[in-house]
């Protein structure tokens, strides 16, 4: 018993060391989203390309869809763009939120790089972005059939993040939809 007590500090030290060692490899930028599990906030905005068309939350349709926050001033958005085109081609609807941007530059971007979006809401003062808890671009939200945000992904969507972060949740949403029908 006495010998065990003598080993207590060592055990404590190993425990603490393990805990702190794990901390070395955590990503400090990974931030839990406050909006996962909540519904998409209401908005009323113009679109970037289709003249003076006003869009609201009711215009976001689809079994599940992506909300992608982008801007022409954001270099990473350019890197992400080809992959978004691929996703759109595979049949997943993407709605753009053009975040704090210049409308002419944004329209030019879409005609030059091609447009993966159903439409892009022109969020010039970042109000919708703020309601979504956006703090930069690009950010991508996955919304399910009930209009609930299932994932918020800050950063560039690429093959890897799509497979690891998005695909499992999309499968889950599909399963839930099948269950709801049954």
């Amino acid at each position: 018993m006495k010998r065990f007590v003598l080993f207590l500090p060592l055990i404590f030290f190993i425990g603490l060391g393990g805990f702190l060692y794990k901390g070395l490899f955590l990503n400090p930028k990974a931030m839990p989203s406050a909006l996962e599990g909540k519904s998409v906030p209401e908005f009323r905005l113009l679109t970037v390309t289709k003249g003076d068309r006003v869009v609201t939350k009711a215009d976001l349709t689809g079994d599940y869809y992506l909300l992608n926050v982008w801007a022409t001033w954001c270099a990473a958005c350019k890197a992400e763009h080809p992959y978004l085109l691929d996703i759109a081609r595979s049949g997943v609807p993407i709605y753009g939120i053009n975040y704090k941007d210049d409308i002419e530059a944004a329209a030019k971007w879409l005609s030059f790089y091609k447009d993966p979006y159903q439409f892009s809401a022109f969020d010039v003062n970042g109000q919708l972005g703020m309601d979504l808890g956006v703090y930069g671009a690009p950010e991508t939200f996955l919304v399910d059939h009930k209009g609930i945000i299932r994932l918020r992904y800050a950063g560039v969507v690429d093959t890897n993040s799509w497979r690891v972060k998005f695909m499992p949740l999309i499968e889950e949403i599909k399963r839930e939809m099948a269950e709801d029908k049954a």
Partner: protein, 164 residues
């Protein structure tokens, strides 16, 4: 002499104003107490983009927007709690420099006190034990000084006789 005083006065004015030039945007507050509340809130709210700066310190786009939002909400007459709630709803507990006390942060808040108390308990146990040991040890020594066992007495006698 007059010039020198004038120069010193100018310098003093420059020095005293430069320290307020940190934040670029200027706001007109409808009530004077709003201004202090505004600055206090900007100190305790954390910039979501920049890891370790508060809203007052940071000049990132999102911090400028959030400062504007704090100002807007305040002019709407919302309380500090409501403004903080507004930010937490959107950006999560991350925006609070002082974490809330809940299940997740319980250890963070009370852990250090717990460790302190644990340390004091261990220390007092060690001290008390040590004291008892000393007291016991002292007692034994006295006892052995007073009396020798028969064997010891025999041994002592032998030694003393040898030397004779």
């Amino acid at each position: 002499m007059k010039y020198i005083i004038g120069l010193i006065a100018t310098l003093l004015v420059l020095i005293s104003t430069s320290s307020f030039a940190g934040s670029v945007d200027t706001y007109q507050f409808s009530k004077p107490e709003y201004e202090t509340r505004f600055h206090d809130l900007n100190k305790i709210l954390r910039c979501p983009k920049c890891q370790n700066q508060n809203l007052a310190d940071s000049n990132s786009m999102i911090s400028q927007d959030l400062r504007k939002e704090v100002y807007r909400l305040m002019e709407e007459g919302r309380s500090d709690e409501q403004i903080i709630e507004f930010m937490v709803m959107r950006y999560g507990d991350f925006v609070l420099y002082k974490p809330k006390v809940d299940n997740v942060t319980y250890f963070l808040w009370y852990g250090p006190i717990g460790f302190g108390v644990l340390g004091l308990i261990i220390l007092s146990i060690v001290v008390v034990r040590q004291r008892n040991k000393k007291a016991n040890a002292g007692g034994e020594q006295e006892q052995s000084n007073e009396e020798l066992s028969d064997k010891e007495q025999q041994a002592l006698d032998n030694i003393l006789n040898k030397n004779k």
